[in-house]
């Protein structure tokens, strides 16, 4: 499981935090618990707690500039070496959410992807994403732009529901203007009914 690597990164940052406050460690604990393979079953209650934990750590960092600098340095090192975003085989490597024809609902099979990204964004509040909605080629350009927006919005709301701050997400649409798959067949259309998460 690649998530064990993610766990290690988290643990490292928690250890840095523990240097300034043991309370922080306690508050952080629920976060690391949910990085395991059971992430898919995370409830919205947990997400709310995660948000609170993050707020707490932000306060603490503001109170101790040295600790903050230390942590930033540590984070930078992590970003270069073991940022889970760079793990090509982890859940965070999945950046696309596919939709059924004429549908704007995130399917269950993509919930683990959304949850993984929500957890990453909650822990990395300096990271921002753009969600780019897309449609197949059929129909008008402006209406398709709005339909692509509807898909991007569905993903944005799902992340938001899991506790990701609005300020970290922008949902935009490419409509039918930037098809990943060209061609006028069901395979191409299915590939283009998609929202991409872009860091």
């Amino acid at each position: 499981m690649r998530s064990s690597k993610f766990f290690a990164v988290l643990l490292a940052s928690v250890m840095v935090l523990s240097a300034c406050s043991s309370v922080q460690l306690d508050k952080k604990a629920p976060v690391e618990d949910r990085t395991g393979s059971n992430a898919a079953t995370t409830s919205s209650n947990d997400s709310a707690k995660t948000g609170a934990a993050n707020d707490g750590s932000a306060d603490s960092r503001a109170g101790d500039k040295n600790a903050q600098n230390n942590q930033n340095a540590q984070n930078n090192q992590n970003a270069q070496n073991t940022d889970p975003l760079n793990d090509a085989t982890g859940m965070l490597a999945k950046r696309s959410v596919y939709f059924d024809f004429d549908s704007y609902v995130v399917k269950d099979e993509f919930k683990p992807v959304i949850e993984a990204h929500s957890q990453y964004l909650i822990k990395n509040t300096d990271r921002k994403i753009v969600i780019q909605g897309n449609t197949d080629e059929r129909g008008g350009s402006e209406y398709n732009l709005a339909l692509g927006q509807k898909r991007a919005e569905a993903v944005r709301r799902a992340l938001n529901f899991l506790g990701v701050a609005d300020s970290q997400i922008e949902a935009v649409s490419f409509g039918k203007e930037k098809p990943k798959a060209t061609g006028s067949n069901e395979a191409a259309w299915a590939e283009n009914r998609r929202a991409d998460i872009v860091y």
């Binding site: 753009v130 008008g140 350009s141 402006e142 709005a146 927006q149 922008e170 935009v172």
Partner: protein, 424 residues
């Protein structure tokens, strides 16, 4: 009949035969003609051989394309001041004859002189003289065609107007403007990212459009004379579907900054944004009625997309389309009485027109991937994007469905046409 076919070929050939304008990529293919055509002879203008364009050819092709005229063969040169053998032309079947002259002036400009003569009575119906810069010579010929069209049909001609459209050629996207016949194209802006939804300011001096150059849809307004442009709307989320108010002071548009795509108003300088619609679904593609008092738009508030109408403050929302489960891209005719839109029926996306006074609906296109309708400023024709052999092309149909022609390109896809306003 044979004669008119030949003439049609001559007209098409003449459009292809200007080496100076070899980049002019739009080619006209007329595929239908109207009933009750007015027979007219257009003589070759005196001294037009040395000019960069042939006014008589441009006028012939304008009038023929309109479907309202039948060309009577007139290969000879007749100057504007030459005596007209009216009875002679009447016997050849022409109800009217056009004669003229082109003079190159010392300052490099061209003087165009023209006269329209009624062969039945032998009287002059119209005449004028104009001086144009060389790059506006074609436009000058279109103005003569406008005058002929108006004098003989009573309807203002829309030949001396411009169209805007998007061309995708390879990895380049271009917003171009061209004469209404697709000639003399000029690139307004170029981008490696998509461009959509060009919209003419009511005075024809600016274009609003949506560009994806910053990795999301943003609305720009660009002045045509000096290419100066401003960002009209770059709010969080998507910014699209700009539509000018008839007074040119504000625009309606679609924004997703508050979640779903909704309709907003904004001043033309980008100030004073206010939200007009408040639905749980999609509201987009706003279009002002010509009186500026109501806005037509596309909404899926009832399920599939349908066309609705509302007051400027967002009140009194009424559904307008009821046939079919997918009706988008409303465009109101200049007199406010007709609505053109795209409807999906049995899997085909086609152009329809609805008479708003009696709810009569008419299908106008025969193809199946049609988009982006746009009324000519005289309200008699609608230009739209269609697809021929998998490539985007522009098509024009008269609002009664009788006359149709295509403007096709040999290179690149053409989409998102919009017909500009009357200009001086």
């Amino acid at each position: 009949m044979i004669k008119s076919c030949l003439l049609r070929r001559v007209a098409v050939l003449s459009l292809l035969s200007f080496p100076l304008f070899a980049q002019a990529q739009l080619r006209i293919e007329i595929s239908g003609v109207g009933a009750n055509q007015i027979p007219i002879a257009i003589a070759k203008f005196a001294d037009e051989d040395g000019a960069p364009h042939s006014p008589s050819n441009i006028i012939r092709s304008d009038l023929e394309r309109s479907g309202a005229f039948r060309l009577i063969d007139a290969p000879e040169v007749i100057a504007d001041n030459a005596p007209i053998q009216a009875a002679n032309w009447k016997s050849k079947g022409a109800d009217a004859i056009v004669v003229g002259r082109i003079n190159k002036l010392a300052n490099g400009r061209f003087e165009l002189r023209y006269r329209l003569v009624d062969t039945l009575r032998g009287t002059e119906l119209s005449s004028f003289v104009m001086t144009v810069q060389p790059q506006f010579l074609r436009f000058g010929a279109h103005k003569i065609a406008n005058d002929i069209f108006y004098k003989l049909t009573g309807v203002p001609g829309a030949f001396a107007t411009r169209i805007a459209y998007i061309v995708k050629a390879g990895t380049e996207n271009r917003l171009e403007i061209a004469d209404s016949d697709g000639e003399s194209p000029i690139a307004v802006t170029r981008s490696s990212e998509p461009l959509i939804s060009p919209s003419w300011s009511p005075d024809g001096t600016k274009l609003a459009y949506v560009s994806f150059e910053r990795k999301k849809p943003i609305i720009f307004i660009q002045e045509l004379a000096n290419s100066k442009r401003i960002v009209l709307a770059d709010f969080k989320g998507s910014n699209s579907a700009p539509a000018w108010a008839p007074d040119g002071k504000s625009l309606a548009m679609a924004l997703s900054r508050d979640g779903q795509t909704q309709i907003y108003l904004i001043e033309a300088d980008g100030s004073n944004v206010r939200r007009l619609t408040n639905s749980s679904g999609i509201d987009t593609e706003p279009r002002f009625a010509p009186d500026g008092q109501t806005i037509y738009f596309t909404s899926d508030r009832n399920g599939g997309p349908q066309i609705f109408r509302m007051n400027l403050d967002g009140s009194d929302v009424k559904r307008v389309t009821f046939n079919g489960s997918y009706n988008i891209s409303p465009r109101v005719s200049p007199d406010g009485k007709m609505l053109a839109y795209i409807s999906r029926r049995e899997g085909k996306f086609q152009l329809y027109i609805l008479d708003l006074t009696n709810s009569q609906e008419l299908r106008l296109s025969e193809t199946g991937h049609d988009e982006s309708p746009s009324f000519a400023p005289n309200g008699k024709y609608i230009m739209y994007a269609t697809s021929t052999a998998g490539r985007g092309a522009l098509a024009v149909v008269s609002t009664d469905g009788r006359v149709r022609y295509n403007l096709s390109s040999k290179v690149g896809n053409i989409r998102e046409p919009t017909w500009g306003p009357f200009t001086n």
